[in-house]
Structures are given as C-alpha cells and as structure tokens.
C-alpha cells in the first residue's frame, strides 16, 4: 500500500481546516451560553457566498470576506429569534440549517460549474522547499494559518482578557451576569455573529480550496462534526484544534485508502468519519472524563430579563 505520510499530513491539515474554523466559532458561541445547531447551514451559506463572490470578482480574499459576511448574516436571523424573540435554540438552529441548505442551492444554481480563482499558497523560498517540513507546514493557503491564529486568539481572549471573562460569565450564569450589569443579550449576539462568520469561512474553505467547486449540500455534515468537536474538546480551544486534526486525519486517510483500492468497501470507508465522531462523543460523554461537567452552565437556556 503506497500512502506517502508527507502528503497525508499535508492533506490532513487541509481536511481539518473547515471544521477547525467552524468549531472554534461555535466554541465561542457555546461559551456565551448559546447552542447554535445551525452550523451546517451557516457553513453551506459561506461556501456558496464565498464561491460566488470569488468567481465574480476573481479575488479569493473578497470571496472569504463574503463568506464570513454570509455566515454572519444567516446567524443574525438566529440571534434575533433566540435573543429578542426568545425562541427555542434547538428548533431555531435546525431551522437555520434547513433554510441555509435551501437558500444556498438557490444562490448556487447559476454558478455551479464555474471554477473559482486559485487561492495562492504560501511560498517562502527556503522554508517551502525544505524536505518533509516544507510541504507539511509551509505550503498551505493563508486560510490555514488564519485558522490556527484564530484558535490562539480565541484561547488568549477567553482566558486572559476582560472580554473573555464577560463571555464566560454570561455563559455560566446569565442572571448573575445581568445583575452585575453586563449586557447579556448583546454579548451573546456578538458571539453568535462571530460563530456565523467562522462557520462561513469554514464553508468557503470547502468550495474555494479543498474541492474547489460548488455542489449542492457539499459540506456533507461537516457542520455537525464541528458541533461534536466542541463537545469532544470539552469547550477548550486547544483541544478543538487537536480534535479537528484528528478528524481531518481520519477523513484524509479514508480518502487515500479509497484511492489506494484497499479491500474494504468504499461505503464503509466513507462512513468512517461519522461513525468515529459518534464513538468519540460516546467516549467523551461517559466515564470519568465527563465532558458535560465542563459545559457552560447556561448552555441552551433562554435568558429573559425581568424588570
């Protein structure tokens, strides 16, 4: 069996970047006490918006900006419904996914079949030409580095800044945070928009870098895997990255095994990322490492300020 470990690791990083972006965004949302199940819908909206704008303008940068805007715009619906109209977060998140899937294929109707402009890869003379490390670390698109930077930034903000403290307070106990004078609703809306933008970027990474093409429903459950990732990470940014690279590794490996024509049915291999995600969820939710213990206490609860 010929699987080159260097290209496998490089492919792993590419495969994990979409769920890493979406996962780190959702982590912030959940840290603020909001459960947004619409990640899949926001990702697919990002995928189509990014693709459409990149094709129109020929600029990948504008494409990614549009993707972030598209994801955030969709999440704004969720924000208004859950924060002002106090709707059930589970149902609203589902609606977001259903609506996003429909709207994205509507937008994408006219542009499927076009090719997006190539996204430039980092090319540092010397570093990128290094054997082994060059292709693994120094030959990716800028989005890969941005995603890693985002994880570090989220970790630093949550852990070491006042804003991070407010976000966590709102997520742990919204009534106490409200009593202290923090604007619970505003903090949450900002977190939801951030999550939407991140999911949008993750989706655009699919349609502009990884595939790169637009097909209906192309995110194929990545949004749900990103949601599982946050549970797996027990709401810790560093672990989101670890988890994303693990899942990415499985995806990249199973695609390579399919290509290598190994004696396992293709469908079984294609199932593996989902099955392994479920297994990981089971492991995390059982036993001593009860991830739920680390969940933000107000996660998914409706906040209604009285008085």
């Amino acid at each position: 069996m010929m699987i080159d470990p260097v290209t496998l690791i490089a492919a792993l990083i590419v495969a994990s970047t979409p769920i890493l972006l979406a996962g780190i965004g959702e982590l912030v949302v959940e840290k603020a006490g909001v459960l947004n199940l619409g990640v899949e819908g926001m990702m697919i909206m990002g995928a189509v918006c990014g693709f459409a704008i990149a094709v129109q303008t020929g600029s990948p940068t504008l494409g990614f900006l549009a993707a972030a805007a598209g994801g955030a715009a969709l999440s704004l619906i969720f924000a208004i419904l859950t924060q002002y109209l106090l709707s059930n977060q589970v149902a609203t998140g589902l609606a977001l996914t259903l609506f996003g899937l429909g709207l994205s294929s509507l937008i994408g109707e006219s542009i499927s079949g076009s090719t997006p402009p190539p996204v430039a890869r980092l090319d540092i003379p010397g570093l990128s030409d290094m054997p082994v490390l060059g292709p693994i670390l120094f030959s990716h698109t800028s989005m890969v580095y941005i995603s890693v930077g985002l994880v570090v930034a989220v970790w630093a903000v949550l852990k070491h800044t006042h804003i991070g403290l407010v976000i966590r307070a709102v997520g742990e106990n919204h009534d106490a945070a409200h009593a202290l004078g923090y604007k619970v609703v505003r903090v949450r809306i900002a977190a939801i928009l951030f999550g939407g933008a991140c999911a949008g970027l993750g989706g655009a990474f699919f349609s502009m870098v990884r595939v790169p093409q637009w097909t209906e429903g192309m995110t194929a459950g990545a949004g749900w895997i990103a949601l599982a990732l946050v549970v797996f990470a027990s709401w810790k940014p560093g672990r989101v990255m670890l988890g994303a690279y693990l899942f990415g590794g499985i995806t990249a490996l199973q695609l390579r095994l399919q290509a290598a024509g190994i004696d396992v049915p293709v469908e079984i291999l294609a199932m593996s990322p989902y099955v392994i995600t479920i297994l990981v969820l089971v492991i995390m939710s059982s036993g001593k490492a009860r991830a739920a213990l680390n969940a933000p206490a107000a996660l998914g609860k409706v906040f209604h300020a009285t008085g």
Binding site: I77, L81, S87, L98, G102, S105, L106, E267, Y274, V282
Partner: protein
Amino acid sequence: MFKLEKRPSPSKPWILATPILAVVMTMLAGGLMFAVLGKNPFEAIRIIFYDPLFNAQFASYSRPQLLVKAGPLILIAIGLSLGFRAGIWNIGAEGQYIMGAIAGATFGLAFYPTESPLIFPGMVIAGALGGWAWAMIPAILRTVFRTNEILVSLLLVYVAEKFLASAAVGFLRNPEGSGFPGSRQLNRIDAMSNPELFANTGMHWGVVMAFISVIAAYILLNKHLLGYQIKLAGQAPRAAKFAGVNPSRLIILCLGVSGALAGLAGLFEVSGPAGQISIDFNVGYGFTAIIVAFLGRLHPVGILLAGLLMALTYIGGELAQLMLGIPASAIQAFQGMLLFFLLALDVLSNYRIRMKKGEATA
C-alpha cells in the same frame, strides 16, 4: 420600548393563530424571494398554493399527490412530536426512514420470486423494526452513556445514506437490471407492492397508517398515563421525576416509536410511490417532518393539517418549477422560512408584549 412579560400559561388563541399567521408571512416573504428571482410573485404563490388543488388542468394529477406526499410527512412527524414534547430531540428521522426502507425491501426481496400474501405484512414489520433499530442507537447511547441524542441521530443520517448507496449498488441491486444501480421494482411485484387503494385518491397503506397514527397519538396524549408523562417530562422535568417518570424509559420509548414510524414511512415509500431502493429515493421527508411537527404545534390534529399543507408546497413547488422555472431549492428555502416565522411568532403565545412607560433603563 417594548417589554416582554411571561404569560403564566401559553395563550390558547395565539397557539392556534400563530401557524396561520406564519403561513401568511411566509407567503409574503416567499413572494419577495420569487420577485428577486425575477418571477411574478402573485403568480408563483397562486401556482404553489391554489393551482394544485383547483386548476382544472393540473388538479386531476396533483390532488392524489397530496396524500402521497402528506402520508410519510405525517407519519414521521407524529413520531417526532412525541419526543419533542418530552424534550427528546430525534432529528435523524431521515436515517431511520432510509434504514426502514432497506430492511423492509431486503426482507421482501429475500423471498423473490415467491408470491405469498404474507410477504407484504412481513416487509411492513421489517421496515418498522429497521427504523426502530436505527433509532435505538442514539437511544441506548443517550441512556447508557448520556451521549447527546441530537448529534448522534443526525450523524447517523449520513451513515444511513452511505449504507443506502452500498445497498443500491451492492446487495440489493437488481440482478436483471443490466448493472444499473437500484433494486428490483418492488411496486411491480404483486407480493411486495404498496398499491393505490382507491383509484385517483393517492391513498396507499402508508397514508392509512398515517391516519391511524394521528388517532393513536391523540388518544395517547389525551387519555393515557404515558401521554401525560411525556407532556410532564417536557414541561416540568423535575416534577416528572418526583411523579415517578423514568427518563430512560421515556427516551427509549420516544426514540423507538419515532424510529419505527419513520421506518414504516420509508418502507411504504419504496414499495409504493418511489417503487424501488435507489441511491437517492429519499427526498428529505425526515427533515421536512421536523417543520411539520412544529407547524402542527406538536398536536396530532395540527400535524395532520400541517402535513397536508407541506405536501401542497412540494407539489406546488414542482408545478412552479415546471411553469415558471422556479428552482426546486426555492421551495426548500420557503419551507425553512416557514419554520423561522413560526418560531419567531411563538413569542406571542408565551409572552405578553407591554409598552414600557417612561423608564429609560433596561
């Protein structure tokens, strides 16, 4: 500024009025969407909601389709509504629908070419068991390991879709189909087909089953202790605990019933309207049924009406595609919009809106 004041109990008139209001607002917003697409919004809305039922040219074809499409939606939504009421979120009905269809078809085709009146009832049982078994995975993981049933049931949809692909090109492929993917045409084999029971009504066994499930759910929720426990667990989990409701039992039961009903819907579909197991025989009924359940206010009679309305948007959507070239995906967005409006308007049933007097502080 406005201020929301929680009602002691949800307002009855608003609970009935909000679905209607949501449909009207969706028509308005949908009309806007169609206008953006460059279509005449009035014509589009008329074609979706009126023509399938009353246009002399199309109604003869469309009217029977109403029951064909509403049947599976109602059947699945009734099952989901029980869980949703108890705060148990099975959102993987699409997967249970697929697995029910595969299990039922496999049972039937195993006896091919035997003709026996027992084969179809056997397929029905196998279909229900297939969906039930698939729903038992999240149920058991939830009760034993406390794994989130939302994520597990949803992720299993993707697993079921891959399994469907392998069935359609593998063990269920028609050996006489010259290598094309897809099983034998179940609806052309007498012993395995789920026929139209009365000509030009669209009524098939799945629709009968859907009506039975509506009645059964109504009785369960209103006359039976279990129905009371389901409602109690959703509204007051702590009180339910003191009242001796066993949460694990409720989870196994709600997921099991919804899985079995979704499996039945899948079996009736592949042996009837869809006709065979093919890679993409599933068209998302399992997801649309979530909208149906909410639109019907999780009430059996409401779900019956909501299922018919949602079926109408499917048929009207196909017609609009044909007549105006409105993309099929527009209907999906339209259905999603409906759920948004419904959830947004729910605030009126649960809260009173009061004007704030003179106070500047929040």
